[in-house]
Symmetry: C2
Subunit: 419 residues, 2 copies
């Protein structure tokens, strides 16, 4: 089956917004074993949308359109599609009521043009939007399906998975309908290096498809097996996973969908351990990531962002002469920060970061990208030191990643000790 993707929006053809939806949709389509014939972007323009649809329709079995379903004047996708196929627009009362409920619930002011989001071309089957007001729809035009979903990435992702794929599967039944899937998360290798490590694996021979998804600073692999039985799909998947693990074991930190902060939170809660964090160059990012996890108050006691030396000295008890002798960015300071925050907070663990995020502040022996991390418990203080080479924001991000990884490794050692 051949699919066309049409992303709609002036922000795409002006280059103001990068089109991440089309590659997401293309991945999903390829994972199903279907083929993307073409990807196109077009502005919010009646004639251009009509022209593209008429070009794509003979080339494909289905077209997936995103964007232009908002309430504003430049959101014309539904109207343009109605015009292209000479269909009248109608108001769907269920959708209208749903939108009005959302407005009431969130105490938003109702403006009449919001009703536009309840208008669809005649014959449309509605695709619910679980995360917003813009419902999608699918039209059957001479046996070909035209899907339209919103372009806000979070909504595209949900509706592609929960709305579009089920309809596609129903209308174009697959022989190999059982699938098994695994996400493998790696940290510490570039995408090219991951790719290179796996180049001798013949995934086709294993009947497994593989996708590479860089999510800075991680690289995720998604392997999917599609077979006639679930057992067979799982068996094939396991073989592929084992081959990947053999080659990348050192860099794999998780099999599954959880984020690193969720993994760390679960480990700490399981061990009934409490944590305090003292951050310098990461500026609150480690605390922020940990507190993104619902229920983090079970383990997260406090975070301290000691950006100034005075704060390191006063709040964490790092002696001034240690900072003077070794520098604020040093193993010695990192260790004392971790120990200080643990003791002062009365927690089981103290975690610290001190480094140079950039763009300035580097020196020949401590260049921008240098980070010292320390983790203290009641019996020991561990330290790790890395030199990364990114810009300020990415350095902060990779520093926080390394810190959470250190916590994860520590927790996992703890469980082996108690075994």
């Amino acid at each position: 089956m051949k699919i066309g993707i049409l992303t709609i929006g002036n922000e795409l053809i002006s280059g103001r917004t990068a089109d991440t939806n089309s590659s997401f949709i293309a991945r999903k389509i390829n994972q199903q074993g279907w083929r993307v014939e073409a990807i196109m972007s077009v502005g919010d323009d009646f004639e251009a949308i009509e022209n593209r649809l008429n070009y794509l329709l003979p080339l494909t079995d289905a077209i997936i359109c995103t964007g232009g379903l908002g309430p504003t004047a430049d959101d014309i996708t539904s109207a343009a599609i109605a015009q292209a196929f000479e269909l009248p627009l109608y108001t769907d009362e269920n959708v209208l009521n749903y939108i009005k409920e959302i407005f009431t619930k969130y105490n938003l002011r109702w403006i009449e043009n919001n009703a536009k989001q309840a208008m669809f071309p005649q014959g449309a089957e509605i695709i619910a939007n679980p995360v917003g007001t813009a419902a999608g729809f699918v039209l059957n035009i001479k046996g070909k399906l035209i899907f339209v979903i919103p372009g806000v990435p979070a909504e595209t992702i949900r509706m592609m998975t929960e709305g579009v794929l089920p309809v596609l599967r129903r209308c174009f039944p697959q022989n190999e309908q059982y699938s098994a899937k695994q996400t493998i998360k790696t940290f510490g290798l570039s995408e090219a290096a991951v790719d290179d490590s796996l180049k001798d694996i013949d995934f086709n021979a294993l009947d497994v498809s593989i996708g590479f998804y860089p999510v800075f600073p991680e690289n995720h692999l998604v392997i999917i097996s599609r077979r006639k039985t679930l057992v067979e799909a799982q068996r094939k998947l396991k073989l592929a996973q084992d081959e990947i693990t053999k080659r990348l074991e050192k860099y794999i930190f998780h099999y599954g969908e959880e984020t690193l902060e969720e993994i760390v939170a679960t480990l700490l809660i399981e061990r009934k351990m409490t944590l305090a964090v003292a951050e310098s160059c990461t500026g609150g990012l480690i605390s922020n990531r940990l507190t993104d996890v619902a229920g983090s108050s079970a383990f997260f006691e406090r975070g301290i962002v000691t950006y100034s030396n005075a704060a390191k000295i006063k709040l964490l008890g790092v002696p001034v002469d240690v900072i003077e002798k070794y520098g604020a960015v040093s193993e010695e300071t990192a260790r004392l920060m971790a120990e200080g925050v643990r003791k002062l907070s009365g927690t089981d663990l103290g975690l610290s970061s001190t480094g140079i995020a950039g763009p300035t502040g580097g020196s020949p022996d401590k260049p921008v990208g240098t980070i010292y991390l320390a983790l203290s418990d009641s019996t020991q203080t561990l330290c790790r030191h890395y030199a990364f080479r990114w810009d300020r924001k990415r350095n902060k991000h990779v520093f926080s990643e390394a810190a959470l990884m250190m916590l994860k490794d520590y927790c996992e050692t703890q469980i082996s000790k108690t075994k």
Copy 2:
């Protein structure tokens, strides 16, 4: 002038690689005052490439293609374009010698298929590649230009700027070559409400284009005017900006590209003021955003994430009976947190947040989304209270936005006082 963009590569239509080239090229084209008619991606496939080119050619004055110029078997772009327009391929001796020189210089082993990179369709004008072996070219097909450059982003960027744009400017002299642009950032209104407020402005009559760009929790407007002189473009832009300001003044917080944290940082540094932050529900996000700004150590002294009540009491000196009487999420606690962190840090300002990010922890009178913010200086403590209704991560984000907005408003009042 209308431009088509065609990015070529199996990695694009499989979704394995996100297409960043097309948005880069689109931005460059729009900056010149030209228009992108369509963006397309296609696989490494003779028939499909020919089909797309024949579709794009009548719609556009020029097509910019990227990708498929490497030495391997799946790099077929030059051959596909030659076939599409029935042109023979020839070997360019200058390019061949240049590639051989590179191989010698970097001590690479010469393999015969590298010579493929010196083959071009008859009539091609070569576009030099300053950063790789894959030269590009431009063909004139019945008065329309077809550009082909490599798809490696670093090479695309260089060759687009140094190779493609000069040829386009030479062949299509611009009438309205001066443009003026303004970004207007708003906070506090939904995208629909912003649109509704502006619906009576006739931007076409003002010769100004407008784009809406939601960047949660902000909504940005970008207005662009393109005229024969810069003065005229700026005059038109000013008229449109004044109309927008008249309608949205209350919600506009910035004219320009700077982020809210950059704006706040500049204000604090200008006023030589120092800041300490005490965060509860925002979990370090306020500190993280402020320290994303390079040079933030000039004003940011420390941040404290007091997630537990014990930390609020011990680190900030909030009396236990205040927390017991009014609750940790209350105006009273917020005020004492801000005052406490300011006094303990010895900074000019203390900023605090306490609220309920969710998904649990809400109550009828303090639902999820409740936030109290306080800002303390040596003479007063201000407090703001909001009720938002997002999920945990978006609540944290909008809380931090409101906190930074409070800082911004405060700093701007300070300057008026000193005037």
